[in-house]
């Protein structure tokens, strides 16, 4: 017996085809690893398939899958820095001269990878996925207060590491998009 009737399966396949790229990009930003992100999205979609009969709408399914992706990514990263290891090259923007835009992007990415998993997830969901604080809290499975504190702490840490000369990041009170 299948988990879903045939029509539901067709709808689910359409959902996978249309949304898997966006979910992959989110997973990639959360994990920083192409292969792991692919695995995570595949497994999360398979779990969404289990819940498909009760999700009813694609919007619900996307939120549901995004939550699985996010909470699993946080869990993986918290369990161990298994994807975190010394890399060959870390851009050092502080004091670099001339400082190209590409170097700044790379430096930000490198420092984002160093953030604790919740801080990184909160920043990615708020500033990439453009979710509200409430939506971010729902996606991360935590309180709005935790989202606020995680975002604030993460941004503060990024500012410290990127350096004071860069007008790179919005201030805390600019980031809220209710």
């Amino acid at each position: 017996m299948s988990a879903a009737p045939r029509r539901d399966t067709e709808e689910f396949c359409e959902f996978v085809s249309s949304r898997s790229a966006a979910l992959f990009r989110l997973a990639y930003l959360l994990l920083g690893d192409y292969q792991l992100a692919q695995d995570l999205v595949q497994e999360s979609l398979a779990k969404a398939y289990l819940a498909w009969p009760r999700l009813h709408q694609v919007a619900n399914a996307e939120a549901y899958t995004r939550r699985i992706v996010t909470t699993t990514a946080i869990s993986w990263r918290r369990r161990r820095g298994f994807h975190e290891r010394p890399v060959d090259h870390l851009p050092e923007p502080a004091g670099a001269d001339p400082m190209s835009e590409l170097v700044v992007h790379d430096a930000l990415w490198a420092h984002l990878l160093e953030l604790p998993p919740r801080q990184r997830a909160a920043i990615v969901l708020r500033h990439y996925a453009d979710l509200s604080e409430a939506q971010t809290a729902e996606t991360m499975g935590c309180s709005i207060g935790t989202v606020k504190s995680s975002t604030s702490a993460g941004l503060r840490r990024l500012r410290e590491r990127i350096g004071p000369d860069l007008d790179l990041l919005p201030s805390d009170d600019q980031v809220a998009l209710p």
């Binding site: 969404a48 398939y49 161990r80 290891r85 890399v87 835009e101 930000l108 860069l166």
Partner: protein, 393 residues
């Protein structure tokens, strides 16, 4: 310069081309989960009772010994063996003073008292004592086909487990191909023989875990982790090399075993309230950390689980604000750490007795990015991605 954060994140996300995820494969995997869930309903109900009791015991045990003395461990001995500093560069394995041209593009390293094991992308497991390099086993490699669906089978550094002292290695082989059940292989690098083969039967009522992965080798016990239903909790199979028995155990038993090995450190609030680190290569399924955060010259609480003594390591000033990854044990007193941020990639050697760390190799000395025990190398993941891309072409 003014670059806003959303633009930068979007730029990074757009810089990678998303893989094509096959909806049919996802549905097949979903159906597999459905069948698995059904299969475990009966066994899972019984297991839930066991795990509830086990979890309660664990909590009570933890509360009881949170401030108490560490348990005695009369079997704790490492025989004083010194392991050489080990790392790989390209196809060359550095084993202390020896340089071995392996001729292999190896992806991970596992050290025993007798030499080093290497893995290659095809799943090959090789061992060398510094002279010849011999293939001693084979696991599945980068990808596997299960139920007609292709899935990865973990990262190279998780394909083999070792202990922080001793001669044993363990891995999973699949004699029936990827569709069959795994077989646990324990290999003795001192005698160069397979010490045991134990078929695992994930899914049977007696061993209700699925998606088994190697967790740890602690003394003469091998732990395999998997998920148990109905709540998809992590459970462990413990295989005893001495008795040949295999049984389902809880997290408390696993934690006790990996804390009791001769060489281990714990990152946590007390010696018994934290995560075991620097025991052996960990599995991503497990709550075990190998990263020390250092801020203002102070690092996360670190304990010797056998003495209960807290270690306040003094690191050189250059590393006063950088995460440090724990590397390998050299002897009962010395272990290595690798700096994770600027200065990145430097290798430090720390002594428990003096609580001091010194720089052993600076990154600028590496000819190529090094491959380190327990950490794989940047080349490992790239090789897997390339192989996956090649298989799609």
């Amino acid at each position: 310069m003014n670059i806003d954060l959303p633009t930068s994140l979007a730029s990074r996300a757009d810089s990678v081309e998303p893989p094509r995820i096959d909806p049919v494969a996802v549905v097949a995997r979903g159906e597999q989960l459905v069948r698995r869930r059904r299969r475990f309903v009966v066994a899972g109900a019984a297991l839930a009772v066991i795990l509830t009791i086990g979890t309660t015991t664990l909590v009570l045990d933890r509360l009881a010994d949170r401030d108490g003395p560490p348990p005695a461990n009369p079997d704790r001995t490492s025989h004083g063996i010194v392991r050489p500093l080990t790392y790989g560069q390209g196809q060359v394995l550095h084993l202390g003073d020896r340089e071995i041209d392996t001729g292999l593009d190896f992806l991970s390293l596992d050290v025993t008292d007798d030499g080093a094991a290497l893995t290659t992308l095809d799943g090959g497991i090789w061992f060398t004592d510094g002279t010849e390099v011999d293939q001693v086993g084979a696991t599945l490699g980068g990808r596997a086909v299960k139920d007609g669906v292709t899935w990865r089978v973990g990262r190279p550094r998780d394909w083999v487990v070792n202990d922080s002292s001793g001669s044993l290695l363990a891995w999973l082989e699949y004699p029936g191909g990827s569709a069959g059940g795994p077989e646990l292989v324990v290999y003795d690098t001192a005698r160069r023989v397979v010490a045991a083969r134990q078929p695992l039967d994930p899914g049977s009522e007696a061993r209700p875990v699925y998606e088994p992965v190697l967790a740890a080798l602690a003394g003469r016990q091998v732990f395999v982790a998997g998920y148990s239903l109905p709540r998809e909790q992590v459970a462990f199979l413990r295989y005893s090399l001495d008795s040949g028995n295999i049984q389902l155990v809880d997290t408390a038993a696993y934690n006790a075993a990996v804390r009791s090995v001769p060489r281990a450190l714990v990152i946590g609030s007390t010696a018994h309230w934290g995560d075991v680190a620097l025991h052996a290569e960990a599995s991503p399924h497990l709550d075990r950390f190998d990263r020390l955060e250092v801020q203002d010259g102070r690092h996360d609480p670190l304990f010797d689980p056998h003495t209960g003594r807290r270690l306040d390591l003094r690191v050189p000033d250059a590393y006063a604000a950088t995460p440090l990854w724990l590397g390998q044990w050299l002897d009962d007193d010395r272990f290595t750490m690798i700096s994770g941020a600027a200065p990145r990639g430097d290798l430090l050697t720390c002594r428990i007795s003096s609580a001091r760390c010194e720089v052993t190799i600076q990154r600028s000395s590496w000819d190529d990015p090094p491959l380190l025990p327990g950490h794989g190398g940047v080349g490992a993941e790239l090789a897997l991605i390339q192989a996956a891309a090649d298989s799609r072409d």
